[in-house]
C-alpha cells in the first residue's frame, strides 16, 4: 500500500523539475521581483487610484528617467566599478540641453545629439581615469562628482536667468517631455527598447559577456584576452550616455535648471541597483534586476509621498526596505546553489523483479564459471580506461583512454602501441563506417569521426531541443555507444541528459529515465532525438533486419529493440528484461548472435533501495559519493544472446582479479577482446568454435575478409 503511494508519487509528481527550474539563471531575479510585487500590492491597497492610468503614466515617466541612469549604473557595477558622479552628470546634461535649446536656439535633433555627446564625454573622463589609469572607481567618481557639480553651479550662476526666461515651444521637444503613444509615455517606450537591447547585449552578445567576465574576475578576463581597459572605459562612457538620455527627458519634461537638479540622485540610483540584486562586487546583474530595482524605489517613494509621509520617514522606509532586501538577496544568492544541489537530485521509484540465479549450481544461462580467468592481458598499466575496443581488418586494435586519446595497438602481439588520435575527451563506444572512418562517442563532447587518414572531425555535439524539457537538452552530455545503419545514419545513445559523465552514479541514484537515443545523419549533417526517457541507454547494435537497433538500458537492466525503418518504424519492443546485472555494450558475434557486456551485477540491497526513493534522496544528501550504495560494477560477465532474447552462454571470472570490469567486448578472428572503463588493461580471450576469419565491420559492410 505504502509502496503504491511511493510509486504513484514518483510517476506523476515531477520531482526533478524543481531543481531544474532553480538552476535557471533567471531565478536569481526572483527575490527583487517578489519584493516588487509585495510593494505594489501593499501600496495598491493603501492608496486609492494608485494604479489608475494617469498615475501609472506619471510613474512610468519618472521611472523611465531614473531607469536610464540605473541602467548606466548597473552596467558599471556589473563591470566591477561604481559611478557616484551620475547625479552631477545628470545636472550638467540637463543644463547642456536647455542651454543649447533656449540660449543658442539649436534645433532639437542637434540638441539631442550634443547632449548625448556631452554625457559620453563626461563619462569618458571617468572611463579614462578608471579604465586606463587604473584609479579606484569610488574615489575617481567622487572627485568627478564634485568637479561636475561645481562646474554646474558656476554655469548656473551665469546662465540660469537666460534659460528661465525662454519658453521653447517645439512639438518634438514637447513630445519628448510629455508625449505618449496610445497612453504609454514616450520615455517608457524608449526605455523598453533600450532595456530589451541591454538584455540581449548582456546575455547574448560578446561584448556583454566581456563585461560580465571582467566584473567576475578582472585578472582572468585579462588572461583570456579580453580587452579589459577598453571595455571598462566604454562602460563608463555608456553610463554617461544613458545618464544624458535620462537628463534629456527630464529637461524636456520640466524645462528648468535649479540648484537641486540631480542632487542625491546617485543614492537613489544606487539603491535601485542594489535593491534589484545587482551585486556591488561586480560580475552579476541583469537588466531585469535594474528595472525591478527602479520600480521598487519609485513605487515606494511615490507611494509614501502620496501618503503624505514626511521626507525623513520616506527615506527611512526606503533604507529599511533596502536593508531587508539586501540581506535576503545575499542569503538567496549565496545559498541558491546549495539549495539547487539539495533539490536537484530527485530519485524515483524503480522496481525490478528478483533476478535470475547466477550462483554456481543454480542452473540457468547465467550460472557463473571461470572461463575468463585466464584472459591474456594487453597493454597492462599502459592503457587507462578503455571503455570500448575495436579492431580493423588489418588486426589493429583501437581503444580509448581517459587521457582523451584513441590508442592503437599493433598486431600480432599488441605490445607496440601509439596514440592514433588525440581528441581530448573520454572515448566511449566506437564503430567503423563503410568508408573505414572510425566514429567515436566522446563523453562530454559528442560524436566524433576519425577519418581513414587520421583527421579528427566533429560529427555532432547537439541535437534538437525538446519543447517540454526545462533543462536545455540540446547539448550532448554523455554520448555513449553507437552503430551505423545501412543508409549511413548513426544511432547513438546518450546515457543521461541531467548529469555529466563523471556524475553517472548520481544518475544511478535517481534511476529515472534520463537518457535518450539520438540519430545523426551525415548526409544532411542533422541530428535528431529519436527516443527519450530511457534508463541510462548504453550499448547499441544494428539488428539483423537492418531496420532496427538493439539497445541496452543499463539501470533498466533490459535490452530493447527500436525500429527506425520498415513497416514497424518507431516501435519499441523489450528483448530481454530483468537481467541479473547491468548491460553495457552490444556487438555482433560471428555466428549471427550478439555479445553483451554486463558491466556489473545487481545486489539485493540496491534493488530494495531503488524501490525507496526517499531513502536514496536522503542518502544522496547526507553521504559523500564514496559512501553511497552503488551498483556493483567490479564484477561482470559477457553473455551471448539471440534476437529472441534468449541467453545462450555466459563467460565469467569469479574473482575478477585478472580483468575486473567488462564494459565492452569485440569478437575478432576467433578471439574476444574485452574493455573496461575502470581498467588499465585490455583482455583477450580465445573463443572455442568461433569463425577464425570474422572481422565485424567487414561482415557488417559486406566486404571480403
Amino acid at each position: 500500500m505504502q509502496e503504491t503511494i511511493v510509486r504513484l508519487k514518483a510517476k506523476y509528481w515531477p520531482d526533478h523539475l524543481l531543481g531544474e527550474i532553480l538552476s535557471k539563471r533567471w531565478t536569481e531575479t526572483a527575490i527583487p521581483v517578489i519584493v516588487l510585487i509585495i510593494v505594489a500590492i501593499a501600496l495598491g491597497q493603501a492608496i486609492d487610484n494608485f494604479f489608475s492610468p494617469a498615475a501609472l503614466a506619471d510613474t512610468a515617466r519618472q521611472a523611465g528617467e531614473i531607469g536610464f541612469v540605473v541602467l548606466g549604473m548597473a552596467l558599471v557595477v556589473i563591470v566591477g566599478g561604481i559611478d557616484l558622479s551620475v547625479g552631477s552628470m545628470f545636472a550638467l546634461c540637463d543644463f547642456c540641453a536647455l542651454y543649447l535649446l533656449d540660449v543658442l536656439d539649436w534645433p532639437v535633433p542637434a540638441v539631442i545629439a550634443a547632449t548625448l555627446v556631452c554625457g559620453g564625454l563626461l563619462g569618458a573622463v571617468n572611463g579614462l581615469l578608471i579604465g586606463y589609469l587604473h584609479l579606484r572607481a569610488f574615489i575617481t567618481t567622487l572627485i568627478t562628482l564634485i568637479i561636475y557639480r561645481s562646474t554646474y553651479d558656476l554655469l548656473l550662476f551665469t546662465n540660469s536667468t537666460k534659460i528661465a526666461a525662454a519658453f521653447p515651444d517645439f512639438p518634438s521637444w514637447n513630445f519628448i517631455g510629455g508625449g505618449d503613444v496610445l497612453g504609454v509615455p514616450s520615455v517608457a517606450i524608449l526605455y523598453l527598447a533600450v532595456a530589451i537591447f541591454g538584455h540581449i547585449f548582456l546575455t547574448r552578445l560578446r561584448p556583454g559577456w566581456h563585461v560580465t567576465a571582467i566584473g567576475g574576475s578582472r585578472r582572468s578576463a585579462y588572461n583570456s584576452g579580453i580587452p579589459v581597459r577598453r571595455t571598462i572605459a566604454l562602460c563608463y562612457v555608456a553610463c554617461g550616455v544613458l545618464t544624458a538620455i535620462g537628463a534629456l527627458f527630464f529637461a524636456a519634461r520640466l524645462g528648468t535648471v535649479g540648484g537641486d537638479v540631480g542632487v542625491g540622485l546617485e543614492v537613489t540610483v544606487l539603491t535601485a541597483t542594489v535593491l534589484g540584486g545587482i551585486t556591488l562586487g561586480g560580475g552579476k546583474g541583469s537588466v531585469a534586476k535594474a528595472a525591478a530595482g527602479t520600480l521598487i524605489v519609485l513605487l515606494v517613494t511615490n507611494g509614501l509621498t502620496t501618503l503624505s509621509v514626511r521626507g525623513g520617514f520616506n527615506r527611512m522606509v526606503l533604507a529599511a526596505i533596502l536593508l531587508i532586501a539586501a540581506v535576503i538577496d545575499i542569503r538567496w544568492l549565496k545559498n541558491r546553489t546549495r539549495i539547487i544541489s539539495k533539490v536537484y537530485v530527485a530519485p524515483t521509484y524503480h522496481r525490478l523483479p528478483p533476478p535470475p540465479p547466477t550462483e554456481v549450481g543454480g542452473g540457468g544461462p547465467f550460472e557463473q564459471n571461470d572461463k575468463l580467468r585466464e584472459v591474456a592481458l594487453i597493454g597492462l598499466g599502459r592503457i587507462e580506461a578503455p571503455e570500448d575496443v575495436i579492431l580493423d581488418r588489418h588486426d589493429n586494435l583501437y581503444a580509448g583512454s581517459r587521457h582523451g586519446d584513441i590508442i592503437r595497438f599493433f598486431p600480432p602481439d599488441y605490445e607496440k602501441m601509439e596514440v592514433y588520435a588525440h581528441i581530448g575527451g573520454q572515448p566511449l563506444g566506437m564503430a567503423f563506417d563503410r568508408q573505414d572512418n572510425l566514429y567515436v562517442c566522446i563523453g562530454g563532447m559528442g560524436l566524433y569521426r576519425i577519418t581513414a587518414d587520421r583527421k579528427i572531425e566533429k560529427a555532432t555535439d547537439e541535437t534538437n531541443r525538446s519543447i517540454y524539457s526545462v533543462n536545455d537538452d540540446s547539448r550532448l552530455r554523455l554520448a555513449d555507444d553507437l552503430d551505423i545503419a545501412d543508409d549511413g545514419r548513426i544511432f547513438f545513445s546518450e546515457a543521461t541528459v541531467r548529469y555529466e559523465m563523471h556524475e553517472w552514479p548520481v544518475d544511478g541514484l535517481e534511476a529515472r529515465g534520463n537518457g535518450r537515443i539520438v540519430c545523426y545523419d551525415p548526409k544532411t549533417d542533422t541530428t535528431r532525438t529519436v527516443l527519450r526517457g530511457l534508463k541510462f541507454p548504453n550499448g547499441i547494435c544494428i539488428a539483423s533486419d537492418r531496420q532496427s537497433i538493439l539497445f541496452a538500458e543499463t539501470f533498466g537492466c533490459s535490452i530493447k529493440r527500436y525500429w527506425f525503418g520498415g513497416p514497424r518504424q518507431g516501435a519499441v519492443e523489450v528483448v530481454m528484461d530483468n537481467l541479473p546485472g547491468f548491460p553495457d555494450n552490444i556487438n555482433l558475434a560471428s555466428d549471427g548472435n550478439y555479445w553483451l557486456a554486463i558491466v556489473g551485477m545487481r545486489s539485493p540491497a540496491l534493488d530494495l533501495a531503488w524501490r525507496m526513493p526517499g531513502f536514496r534522496r536522503r542518502m544522496g544528501k547526507r553521504l559523500p559519493v564514496d559512501e553511497w550504495l552503488f551498483p556493483n560494477i567490479n564484477t561482470g560477465c559477457v553473455v551471448k544472446f539471440n534476437e529472441n532474447g534468449e541467453v545462450l552462454e555466459s563467460y565469467w571470472d569469479l574473482n575478477s582479479i585478472n580483468h575486473p570490469m567488462i564494459t565492452s567486448m569485440r569478437e575478432h578472428r576467433g578471439y574476444l577482446y574485452l574493455g573496461g572503463i575502470a581498467n588499465n588493461r585490455i583482455g583477450k580471450y580465445k573463443l572455442a568454435n568461433a569463425d577464425p576469419d570474422f572481422v565485424q565491420y567487414d561482415k557488417r559492410w559486406g566486404k571480403p575478409a
Partner: protein, 365 residues
C-alpha cells in the same frame, strides 16, 4: 526534559547521536598493514575465541577445544555445542561458554569438567569471559534479544540489552552487574572495576562494583570486541569490524532497515561483516570501485581487522591493522604469549602471530 528536546533536535538536524559522521583512524589508530602481513599460524573450521592457560594457547574451534603444542594443535575436548567464548583461569582451569547460554568450568590440561554447568540468569549470547581476581567469573551477554550468531540483527534493531554478569562458579549463581549495554562484547577485570566493550556505542566502559559505568575510551571508528590483558599491565582491545557512514545512515533509516531485514538475505545486508568481497551481491559503496585494478585501502570498510593496545590508564598506544584491501578481517580475540601477540581473525578463520617488539619497531620507523 531539556535532554529530550536536545535529542529531538539532534535527530531533526542530524547532530549529536544522530550524526552519521564517523571518526577517522588517526593518532594511535593511524592505519598500517602489520596485521595483514602477520604470520599465519593456523587456519580453522569455525574459530571463536582464544586464551592462554599457564603458558599454553587454547583456541575454541566450533565445538572443539584445541591447544597449541610443539607438535601442532591437539584436540583437548569436543562438546556437543559450539563454544562462544573461552577464558583461562588463574588456577590453571578454563571456562567455556556454550551456545552463548551455558558456562562450563574445565580443568584445562585434560579438558574434564571441573564443576557443574551454569545456565542461570537467562544467558542468551555470552560472548566473552574473564576471570575475576576474587575467584569469580565475569561474562558479557551481548544481547538478551538475539542469540550470539545474530549480532548483526541486534545492531540493526539498535539493540541495547547487553549485560555484564558476575558468576560464582562454586554456587552457580549469576548476578547482573550492569544491563542496558549497547551490545556488550568483551570483558577484562581491572582491580575492582571491570572493563567492558560496548560495541554499538563504539566505546570501552569501566563498570564499578555498584554497576556505575564510566567511559574510558570512546568515539572509536570501530566496533570493539574482546579484551585481553597485556603483559605489562595494559590491554589488547580487538575490533571485529569498523564503522562506515553508510551503516550509520542505515541505522537511522527505520523503514529501509526493517524492509532489508525482511526482504534481503542476511549475507547481503548493509551491515558490518567479519569478511567481505565473497559475492557480488553484497552491497557495494562508491569507493569500492576497483580503479586501474586497485581497491583503495581507505574505502569504507565492510569488514576490517584491528587490534588496539591500551596502556594501563586505558589511553591507546598503538594499533595493528588489516585494511579494506586486505583479508585478515573480523578480529575477535587476541592473546599475548612470550612476546608474541596471537590474533584471531574470524573473517578468514585464521590465527595470526605478530612479534610485538618487531611490530613496535616497524611502527616507530
Amino acid at each position: 526534559m531539556i535532554a529530550m528536546l536536545e535529542d529531538f533536535f539532534d535527530r531533526i538536524l542530524g547532530r549529536g547521536d544522530a550524526a552519521i559522521t564517523v571518526p577517522t583512524f588517526d593518532g594511535s589508530l593511524k592505519p598500517n598493514q602489520l596485521l595483514e602481513r602477520a604470520e599465519v599460524v593456523g587456519e580453522f573450521e569455525a574459530p571463536e575465541d582464544l586464551t592462554c592457560v599457564e603458558g599454553a594457547l587454547y583456541i575454541a574451534d566450533g565445538p572443539v577445544l584445541r591447544r597449541l603444542e610443539a607438535t601442532g594443535w591437539r584436540e583437548v575436548r569436543r562438546f556437543e555445542q559450539t563454544m562462544t567464548a573461552i577464558c583461562g583461569l588463574p588456577g590453571g582451569g578454563l571456562a567455556a561458554a556454550l551456545e552463548g547460554s551455558e558456562i562450563r568450568v574445565l580443568a584445562a590440561a585434560e579438558g574434564a569438567d571441573a564443576g557443574q554447568a551454569i545456565s542461570a540468569g537467562g544467558m542468551r549470547a555470552v560472548n566473552a569471559i574473564a576471570a575475576c581476581p576474587d575467584g569469580g567469573l565475569l561474562a558479557t551477554d551481548g544481547s538478551t534479544g538475539e542469540p550470539y550468531w545474530q549480532w548483526a540483527r541486534d545492531l540493526l534493531n539498535r539493540g541495547r540489552s547487553g549485560r555484564l554478569l558476575f558468576i560464582d562458579p562454586a554456587s552457580g549463581n549469576v548476578e547482573v552487574r550492569a544491563s542496558g549495554l549497547h551490545y556488550a562484547f568483551g570483558v577484562a577485570a581491572v582491580g575492582k572495576d571491570v572493563l567492558v566493550s560496548e560495541s554499538w556505542r563504539h566505546r570501552v566502559v569501566s563498570v564499578a562494583a555498584n554497576g556505575a559505568t564510566r567511559s574510558v575510551l570512546d568515539h572509536l571508528p570501530v566496533y570493539p570486541s574482546r579484551i585481553a590483558p597485556a603483559s605489562d599491565g595494559g590491554f589488547w582491545v580487538t575490533a571485529f569490524t569498523a564503522r562506515t557512514q553508510l551503516i550509520e545512515f542505515v541505522l537511522r533509516e527505520g523503514a529501509y532497515r526493517k524492509r532489508m531485514m525482511r526482504e534481503v538475505p542476511p549475507e547481503f545486508w548493509i551491515v558490518p561483516r567479519l569478511c567481505s568481497g565473497g559475492s557480488f551481491r553484497e552491497p557495494m559503496q562508491g569507493a569500492h570501485l576497483k580503479t586501474m585494478g586497485v581497491v583503495k585501502p581507505w574505502a569504507p570498510p565492510r569488514s576490517y581487522g584491528l587490534v588496539i593496545r591500551l596502556a594501563a590508564d586505558f589511553s591507546p598506544l598503538f594499533s595493528f591493522h588489516s585494511r579494506v584491501d586486505g583479508e585478515n578481517h573480523g578480529v575477535v580475540a587476541a592473546a599475548e604469549l612470550d612476546g608474541s601477540l596471537y590474533v584471531l581473525a574470524k573473517g578468514p578463520k585464521r590465527l595470526l602471530r605478530l612479534a610485538i617488539a618487531e611490530a613496535k619497531e616497524a611502527l616507530a620507523a
